[in-house]
């Protein structure tokens, strides 16, 4: 079994205008940097992007927003990106802001064959508008539906040619659940290793969920808030 492709350009073949993409990452941590650059280069437009955040103005998804390639964002927090907020307030960009936990669970459900589920998050707020409500344990819950994507693009630390993935630190975040929910899942990894090198007990995403994998390059791994403490 060999899912390896040469690079980001090859990996994103088949991504067309108006498709729905899932992109892993929390802030700039664990984002598929190479694939995002390749998407900018490819110039696809009208994209619906499902991603927890929208990057910053000049990095991450911000690059696609700058080029007006995104028609709609489905995210939980977009505060770090002023261009995003501007496009949203002006109506240029359609935005669905959804609770982070519901976003994660909707992706997981999408990959797991669970079409919908009830959650208490958002009941009584505008997130709950128009959604079915049911009581469980005396508490109101709203019905949320699974999310899937034409392509899910994830970033991992290590992977092998079978698509097995291991993540590092908090760069894991949404990557495993989005990997499950893409019709086609693309994984970019810092280190492509030989089958057998990854301990089966320590694999975070089983290769069955991944269709294409490539060795990434030149990761910037930008830090949004470099906070330190003094040595005393």
């Amino acid at each position: 079994m060999n899912k390896v492709v040469a690079n980001a350009q090859e990996a994103i073949q088949g991504i067309k205008d108006n498709m729905t993409l899932m992109l892993g990452g929390f802030g700039l941590c664990g984002i598929p940097e190479n694939a995002i650059s390749a998407l900018v280069e490819l110039g696809v437009t009208g994209l619906t992007c499902i991603s927890n955040n929208a990057g910053v103005d000049d990095f991450g998804l911000g690059l696609l927003l700058q080029k007006k390639q995104i028609k709609k964002m489905i995210s939980s927090y977009v505060g770090e990106n002023a261009e995003f907020e501007r496009q949203m307030l002006s109506g240029e960009l359609e935005v669905d802001l959804i609770p982070q936990g519901s976003l994660a669970e909707r992706c997981r459900a999408g990959g797991a064959g669970i079409p919908a589920f009830f959650t208490p998050a958002g009941y009584g707020t505008e997130v709950g508008d128009g959604k079915e409500v049911r009581m469980f344990n005396g508490k109101p819950h709203i019905l949320e539906h699974a999310l899937t994507a034409d392509f899910a693009i994830v970033k991992a630390w290590k992977g092998d040619r079978l698509g097995n993935l291991v993540f590092k630190g908090t760069a894991r975040n949404f990557n495993p659940v989005m990997a499950m929910a893409g019709k086609i899942t693309i994984a970019e990894v810092e280190e492509l290793v030989e089958p057998g090198e990854l301990d089966p007990n320590h694999i975070h995403t089983p290769g069955i969920f991944v269709q294409r994998i490539f060795q990434g390059a030149n990761y910037e791994k930008r830090i949004e808030q470099r906070t330190v403490r003094s040595r005393q």
Partner: protein, 217 residues
Amino acid sequence: MLDRNGIAKRIAQELQDNWYVNLGIGIPTLIANYIPEGISVEFQSENGILGMGPFPFEGEEDADLINAGKQTITAMPGACIFDSATSFAMIRGQHINLTVLGAMEVAQNGDIANWKIPGKMVKGMGGAMDLVASADNIIVAMTHTNRKGKSKLLKACTLPLTGVGCVKKIVTNMAVLDVVKGGFKLIERAPGVSVEDIIAATEGDLIVEGDIPEMVL
């Protein structure tokens, strides 16, 4: 009146040994600096770490280790990493002992608004709605009035809600209050703040019974 650190210090007094705690961005993060002597707690960050540690020393920042506010952090011995679905399973499944977050408005029935000012600030709710809908122990950390001097403790919220009927306790720069049937119950005054000051700064119904002690910090 307390400053941000004072509010954090007072809330830290509520921490109990072996608790799992989630701290929201802003004032709540300062609570980690005031853990009482002899108490050990584990901090959970919604982006996928339990056992979050303090900021790293300069030069030791790791881009793959951040908190919910996108700040670089460290991991304590015994920390663990997990994905976002697992993180919110901990939160929604009520495994967290204490949740502390900020607010723009809290209503006397426990409603909270802390994510949107229509037409002006629409950054998104992040994990706030999951946190307030699921936690049974929520403390709000906020200033008593906003920048325009308007009370943030209201009869009813005017801003879009984050959650309904969920806040139980509030610590402001002026007071500690519980949300009870009938309104906000005044529990403690901040050093140098009078009951009259607090009444004047509270738009919602305020219940004042007996002598109100000063916070001990």
